[in-house]
Symmetry: C2
Subunit: 241 residues, 2 copies
């Protein structure tokens, strides 16, 4: 892990860019150490997502958490995958034509991403937990939900997760969801035009964990209310302390 | 309003029994005054519900809220209604026989209760708000959901409500739900064996308010997690302060 940039904010939070192999990422640490860690998931495109990720990270840091994120395979400056690009083109074509998005398109779009991203998150976790500023346990917050579900199943160091219900969830993710046993808080935007509400409710139902809470709020995809940031912090306070 | 009993707890909360006409009730007030007020709804039977109501009231009082509840028409020591008793017998018969509970049974069971209870709550509110210990604004928390919905529509002094999704909701309540414009937090027990989950989701969808949040948790009817008490307090803190 090589740090590539560094800035300290007025609130005492230290933000550092890093690379790990060819994967770029960002680490935010609060003044207090060692801090429990929250991994911030996102749909890809670190620079586009930066304002929201940075706000979430600093909100978490104000409660004493470190936060970190990495770029997704095929997003931002990372090499694109022709197969994923083709699947994305097929998805857009189907949506534009008002056709059903087939399981085949979803699988081709999402599953290779999960297969590639999850090991990268785990290697990142190894590197982060080796830093003196970071102590366990670890939470995961955000999307892509298929990546978050796989991580929750295979990575025992992740103790709790806040998930964003999204669309285009592979069938395989439903099967994996049944194997999830860590506490979950699932956010659903009730009126998200790009989201299949029933599918999100079905996925919530499928999770195998006994300690799961669904928070449904009004508004579209990016309209998650501000107070859900606090609720996420309190959820992690219950499970990471 | 006549106070009939009084005890002060170690946490400084004053609990007083009262009667208003022939309606018995309980008022809890914190040390600080004037306190915003939360009306505590329940399914009827004050003495049976007392442990849970008292715990909820004192949890709210710890955050500076007064809380009050009254007995439902036909419950506890109040005169029973033969028509309601007959509707309840029909409901039990239908459930025992595994038959569908008809709209007719639900309407006969719930609507007269709403028509009677809502004016009683409003008169109680008049009396409570005349006390120097109580200041506005007012929240409502609990069931019966058809009563809570009617109150939210007709009583402008109620500024926000935490509702418990329950079963056997009259069709008319769905129509009234569309007229609700105050902020709502709706609790749903996902695995409640006596609850129709889809109906609860439909009712949540029906509410006309733009600021509504659904909190779904695992477990049965009485298994609402402890932390939802804090979440209710924080919801009221956002809307009653």
């Amino acid at each position: 892990m090589e740090f590539t940039s560094e800035q300290r904010f007025d609130d005492g939070v230290l933000e550092r860019g890093f690379t790990l192999g060819d994967v770029p990422g960002i680490l935010w640490t609060p003044g207090s150490a060692p801090a429990p860690l929250i991994l911030l998931g996102h749909p890809g495109g670190l620079s586009k997502m930066y304002p929201r990720l940075s706000a979430r990270a600093r909100h978490a840091a104000a409660e004493g958490y470190a936060a970190a994120t990495i770029e997704l395979p095929g997003s931002g400056d990372r090499p694109r995958s022709p197969a994923t690009d083709e699947a994305r083109a097929d998805l857009r074509r189907a949506l534009a034509a008002g056709e059903t998005v087939t399981d085949d398109i979803v699988d081709r779009l999402v599953l290779p991403l999960v297969d590639k991203a999850v090991p990268e998150w785990r290697v990142t976790l190894d590197a982060l937990l080796a830093l003196p500023e970071i102590g366990g346990p670890v939470g995961f917050a955000g999307g892509v939900i298929a990546i978050a579900v796989r991580l929750a199943v295979v990575e025992p160091r992740i103790a709790a997760a806040v998930l964003f219900a999204g669309s285009f969830v592979p069938r395989a993710t439903f099967d994996e969801a049944r194997q999830v046993t860590i506490p979950l808080q699932v956010l659903l935007q009730w009126d998200d035009e790009g989201n299949d509400r029933q599918m999100a409710l079905d996925l919530f139902d499928a999770f195998g964990t006994k300690e799961k809470t669904l928070h449904a709020n009004m508004g579209g995809h990016t309209g998650v209310p501000q107070f859900e940031g606090d609720e996420g912090n309190r959820f992690f306070a219950r499970h990471l302390r």
